[in-house]
């Protein structure tokens, strides 16, 4: 039954265009943008949590670093902008 001559080496055929959308990363991006532009701290924090969710559920074969990086950047920027802006009386 076992045949070494019939071994086919493993190959992964998933292109980036075929990947399903990562909804957590999209939500993170969306909330990050809203937190940045509308200056809502709550949305910036939500963006961070969704970013965590996206990274936690990332699969090796479906990794899209650009999307993760962009959603992380927006989440962190949203928080930084909200907490470092000067409050005028």
């Amino acid at each position: 039954v076992r045949r070494p001559d019939l071994v086919k080496p493993y190959s992964l055929n998933i292109s980036q265009e075929d990947l399903p959308p990562d909804y957590m990363a999209i939500l993170s991006l969306l909330f990050g943008l809203m937190g940045l532009l509308l200056k809502f701290k709550f949305m910036a924090w939500l963006a961070l949590f969704f970013c965590f969710g996206s990274v936690a559920n990332m699969k090796k074969s479906e990794t899209d670093f650009k999307q993760i990086l962009s959603s992380c950047m927006f989440a962190i920027m949203g928080l930084v902008m909200n907490y470092t802006r000067r409050e005028y009386p």
Partner: protein, 371 residues
């Protein structure tokens, strides 16, 4: 004294407001959630890894018996795809090209998914821990390239509608019908022909399925199987898919927390081992099965009739497309004629008129000349 009070009030207003703990409720809550999330991530990930390893060890011996290559690098171990998904690739067996065992577990590592699952559980069945064995046939006769063209599926009755919607080769209820077999009444067998259901599921196989029916999600054998991750199933080939539940709801939901060796876990491991083992032994049967000529002819005729029906259904669309193409052609011709010099335009119009006259006379009733 009035001026003094006003000055004091102005000075107080100019000083920044003192922050209290209440002002930082959101930040404290977020920090606590982050700590809880990170703690849950590592705990859930480790739990999933232990579960996957336990189940893999139950099937490792079987995979070793059937395949020369077990694991991407023949290391005989699971590859972690994600915190809740593990895979092992096998190859080097007669009558198949390769097999992939994928263990999909609940996202115990992700707090957001767990909360979402709790919300969804009120109207949708919760995510189940499953093991999927996908066997792919190759192009050569030695690797199952001569597999007969048929579809066979066994699943619980409650999952029939979802399975038909999910698998293209099962969706037509006229082509793939239910057949009565020795399977338990809670299971249903779908196939093109009664002969396929009868010969592909001998008594030993039915006995194993009946015994472990609580853990059987689907067995699907087809020459048009869509393989790959559920959302990315693009490759259509001949093959077998067996999905085994690693936890049965009939015996209660607390299987994952049971220690290895205890009642429910042992039952789950035994079921996974038996069902996966049966599927691996099933490969030879599926690759070498030959339908009777009568059944083959009937199947061929039925598929041809269904294809014709589908073709006719698209008639309106095809006619509309043909009409659109004709209109586009006429428009392009007209645009081209407008760019020609006047003499050539006149020649073209004369030619068009002659053609229309010819069509008129040839299409109508022939006039007979009376002498």
């Amino acid at each position: 004294s009035l001026c003094g009070c006003t000055a004091a009030a102005t000075a107080a207003a100019a000083r920044p407001k003192e922050k209290t703990v209440r002002d930082y409720v959101m930040e404290i809550g977020a920090a606590v959630l982050i700590v809880v999330y990170v703690f849950n991530y590592f705990r859930g990930r480790e739990k999933n890894r232990q579960l996957a390893e336990t189940w893999f060890q139950a099937c490792a011996g079987l995979l070793d018996t059937h395949f020369y290559l077990v694991g991407h690098d023949n290391a005989h171990r699971l590859t972690r795809e994600g915190a809740a998904q593990f895979k092992v690739y096998c190859s080097g067996r007669v009558n198949c090209e390769s097999a992939t065992l994928t263990i999909n577990l609940r996202p115990r590592h992700d707090l957001i998914s767990l909360i979402w699952e709790l919300i969804q559980s009120s109207y949708q069945p919760a995510f189940e821990d499953t093991a999927t064995l996908e066997v792919v046939m190759g192009p050569t006769p030695e690797t199952g390239g001569n597999m007969e063209g048929f579809s066979l599926a066994v699943m619980p009755k409650s999952d029939e509608a979802a399975a038909r919607a999910d698998c293209r080769d099962l969706e037509n209820r006229l082509a793939v019908r239910k057949w009565k077999t020795g399977l338990h009444e809670s299971l249903v067998c779908l196939s093109d022909e009664e002969e396929v259901a009868r010969e592909m599921l001998p008594e030993p196989v039915q006995a194993v399925m009946n015994l472990h029916r609580a853990y059987l999600k689907v067995l699907h054998v087809s020459d048009r199987l869509a393989v790959g991750p559920p959302l990315l199933r693009r490759q259509i080939c001949a093959g077998i898919r067996m999905v085994v539940k690693l936890r049965s709801r009939e015996r209660g939901p607390r299987l994952a927390s049971a220690a290895p060796g205890s009642g429910k876990m042992a039952e789950s491991l035994s079921a996974a081992e038996d069902l996966i083992g049966t599927t691996l032994r099933f490969i030879d049967r599926a690759a070498t099965y030959q339908m009777s000529s009568g059944a083959r002819e009937r199947r061929k005729k039925l598929l041809a009739q269904l294809a014709e029906y589908e073709f006719k259904k698209t008639r309106t669309q095809r006619e509309a497309d043909a009409q659109q193409r004709k209109l586009d052609k006429m428009r392009k011709e007209k645009e081209l004629v407008e760019t020609l010099p006047p003499e050539q335009q006149a020649k073209y119009e004369e030619k068009l008129l002659r053609k229309q006259m010819r069509n008129k006379t040839q299409g109508g009733i022939k006039s007979i000349k009376m002498k």
